[in-house]
């Protein structure tokens, strides 16, 4: 099965072939050489809720969370978000729309929390790197800033609201 993957901004082509006793996995970093791994299924075994992965002789306990195109992989207390697409088009779409805040059409909350303060109002044109909202989660106040010039189309929350992770806070127009 052929995938395109993205990890921390780096793009990869990935090919996965399942055999009765092996995984054949090939990776190609953007423009680089294909690297082929032939992994025994004995070296990628489920134990409790995670996998024991013996890779190049190194022992990892790996946990993979997620579905569809977004996965988060945890191991050795590091973690990475990995985007995986079957369809090449999908990846290109997402990369076009991507970029930081300001490139997006809306500001979403990355975590559940409470809105402490809103610095803008609908119709405002806000310059890059200006604060938009202060959100509190776990006793910490987090300031969310613009990464590009934007025009505020709609503010979907008000001061004091509790929001879930992924909730849309502000919608933008291009200025």
């Amino acid at each position: 099965m052929y995938f395109e993957a993205e990890i921390k901004g780096k793009k990869y082509k990935v090919d996965v072939v399942e055999q009765p006793r092996n995984w054949k996995i090939s990776l190609q970093e953007d423009g680089g050489q294909w690297i082929h791994y032939d992994l025994s299924k004995e070296d990628y075994k489920k134990s409790e809720s995670y996998f024991s992965f013996l890779f190049k002789g190194v022992s990892y306990l790996v946990d993979v969370v997620g579905k569809d195109t977004e996965y988060t992989v945890f191991t050795r207390n590091s973690f990475r978000s990995v985007k995986i697409f079957n369809d090449e088009m999908l990846l290109h779409e997402s990369l076009k729309a991507g970029g930081g805040l300001g490139g997006d059409k809306e500001l979403k909350s990355g975590m559940p929390g409470k809105i402490i303060e809103i610095f803008c109002k609908e119709g405002d044109v806000v310059k890059a790197n200006k604060p938009l909202i202060i959100m509190e989660a776990m006793k910490m106040e987090n300031e969310m800033r613009t990464s590009a010039d934007v025009k505020i189309k709609q503010i979907c929350v008000k001061q004091g609201d509790s929001v879930e992770a992924g909730a849309v806070l502000i919608k933008f127009d291009n200025p």
Binding site: M1, F3, A5, I7, K8, K10, Y12, V14, V16, E18, W23, I25, L27, I35, Y37, L39, Y44, E48, S49, Y50, F51, F53, F55, Y60, L61, V62, D63, V64, V65, G66, K67, D68, Y71, V73, F74, T75, R76, N77, S78, F79, R80, V82, I84, N86, G110, M111, P112, G113, A137, M138, K139, M140, N142, A165
Partner: protein
């Protein structure tokens, strides 16, 4: 001995107190908010009662509700842990009125140290060194300029009622005075309902070093040496060690004696901590504040002195004299504690959510005080700290190596944690040689992704994600093409017949 102790707290500290109670043969009563029904402290206590909705203001800070539960359950003492009501003198008075023993200092102790300005005046009286500064509230920008002219730049402007990094500004040049002054006043007003600010000399090479003190109701006061807590992010400690690698033996004795004088000055009862700013270039130290409670980092003192501080708190609350004298106390070896927080290790943004896998470190000279378990959902309402790992070594090097080993054993998935940040700090030359200051993480330590995440090859993540994605899609495919070609089935039947 008390019959029953109610623990007015949650998380790992509630569990810590439950453990002390159980060792003393006292029943423990847990309280919990709606968000904490499945929190580990509820499972481990002998009894547990709901005290209200998730926000702490409606549960863990509700004094009357907690006292009511204590009475109903027959608890004759309350341990406040740290945070929440632990330094609230009104709560102590309410406990006293209700005939319940508060395990901690007297309300007078708390009031004396609660306001930073009056505390500083008291300390001057007790001949405890204090930082040169305004010696009182500064009302106007002009006044601020005068004070700064006297003590010299750099200075720090602080809100009198402030704490936790709120309401303070460092001023390095004349031009910053006015804006910093106004910012502190408004933050003081907004966060603590008190716009009073004061000004102090800013120590350029500062370390946070604190002395654990213990007093009883018979006038005995001792100190249990120092803890260095200079590794801080957003003005909150994340790594502590005892002894400090920067304090020479004679300065340690001076600091200990000063701390005992400070506690004596207010007839302090119970466990408390005198925090000092320590100038690493001059080895001078100045009183900062006193915390009239048990500290998060108390285990490192327990490990190097061999004293169970929570049990001692209970003994003292019962009116017993301290079970040790100053001359009995020795620091043995070296202890380190790291705080494991549910947060992004780079941006420090909280990461509440569902813990999937969780396995705590074990093995020789490792202690782990944690309330995490697989399947537990870390709530958004409270502090992000979910565990503390403490290690001991004969030497500092051994304690650090042991901590690195223990952190490698810590398995935690589903939420982000700062374990990798700790692993990187433990390898940093400024941490290893002990010269780190409170500005270490901001100034000397590059919190950059490749450095922090260098421990694992990208291909490991990619392969794991790819296999999972493959399996997810394969199982979908099977549902779509569930019709096997008949040739196979017919072929098998033919074989059986032959």
């Amino acid at each position: 001995m008390f019959k029953k102790v109610l623990i007015a707290n949650r998380g790992e500290i509630a569990i810590r107190v439950t453990r002390a109670c159980r060792e003393l043969g006292v029943n423990s009563v847990a309280v919990f908010s709606d968000a904490d029904r499945e929190s580990l402290h509820v499972f481990l206590a002998d009894e547990a009662y709901n005290i209200g909705p998730a926000p702490s203001i409606e549960s863990y800070l509700k004094m009357d509700k907690i006292i009511e539960v204590a009475k109903k359950s027959g608890a004759d003492a309350i341990h406040p842990g740290y945070g929440f009501l632990s330094e609230n003198s009104d709560f102590v008075r309410k406990c006293q009125e209700a005939g319940i023993n508060f395990i901690g200092p007297t309300p007078e102790n708390m009031d004396a140290m609660g306001d930073k300005l009056s505390a500083k005046a008291l300390m001057k009286k007790a001949k405890v060194p204090t930082v040169p500064g305004s010696d009182g509230a500064v009302e106007t920008v002009e006044q601020a300029r005068e004070v700064i002219a006297q003590i010299g730049l750099p200075v720090i402007i602080k809100a009198s009622a402030g704490g936790g990094g709120k309401g303070m500004r460092v001023v390095k040049s004349e031009s910053e005075i006015e804006s910093a002054f106004r910012a502190c006043r408004s933050e003081g007003q907004n966060y603590f309902a008190d716009p009073t600010v004061y000004i102090e000399k800013f120590v350029t090479d500062p370390k946070h070093i604190e002395i654990q003190v213990f007093g009883d109701k018979h006038g005995n006061v001792v100190h249990l040496f120092e803890r260095e807590c200079s590794v801080q992010r957003r003005h909150q400690k994340i790594i502590e060690e005892s002894p400090s690698p920067s304090v020479p033996a004679e300065v340690r004795m001076k600091m200990g004696e000063a701390a005992v004088r400070a506690a004596r000055e207010i007839s302090y009862v119970g466990a408390g901590t005198i925090e000092f700013i320590f100038d690493n270039s001059t080895k001078e130290f100045y009183f900062m504040e006193m915390n009239t409670r048990l500290q998060v980092e108390h285990p490192i003192t327990e490990i190097v002195t061999g004293i169970d501080l929570v049990k001692e708190q209970i003994h003292v609350a019962l009116g017993h004299p301290l079970s040790f004298k100053q001359s009995d106390l020795k620091q043995k070896g070296h202890a380190i504690e790291v705080r494991i927080c549910a947060e992004d290790p780079i941006s420090y943004k909280p990461s509440p959510g569902l813990i999937r896998a969780c396995r705590h470190p074990q093995g020789p000279f490792v202690r782990c005080d944690s309330y995490a378990y697989p399947g537990y959902e870390v709530p958004i309402y409270y502090d992000p700290m979910i565990a503390k790992v403490i290690t001991w070594g004969e030497t500092r090097e051994e304690a650090i190596a042991r901590m690195d080993r223990a952190l490698s054993e810590f398995i935690l998935s589903g939420i982000k944690s700062n374990i990798v940040l700790h692993k990187s700090i433990l390898k940093h030359p400024r941490f290893l040689d002990g010269t780190y200051t409170t500005q270490f993480l901001e100034k000397n330590f590059e919190v950059i992704e490749p450095e922090i995440f260098k421990f694992v090859d990208d291909h490991v993540f990619l392969i794991a994600a790819a296999i999972t994605a493959f399996n997810d899609r394969k199982s979908k495919d099977i549902r779509q093409y569930n019709v096997f070609p008949n040739w196979k089935r017919v072929g098998r039947k033919m074989q059986l017949r032959l």
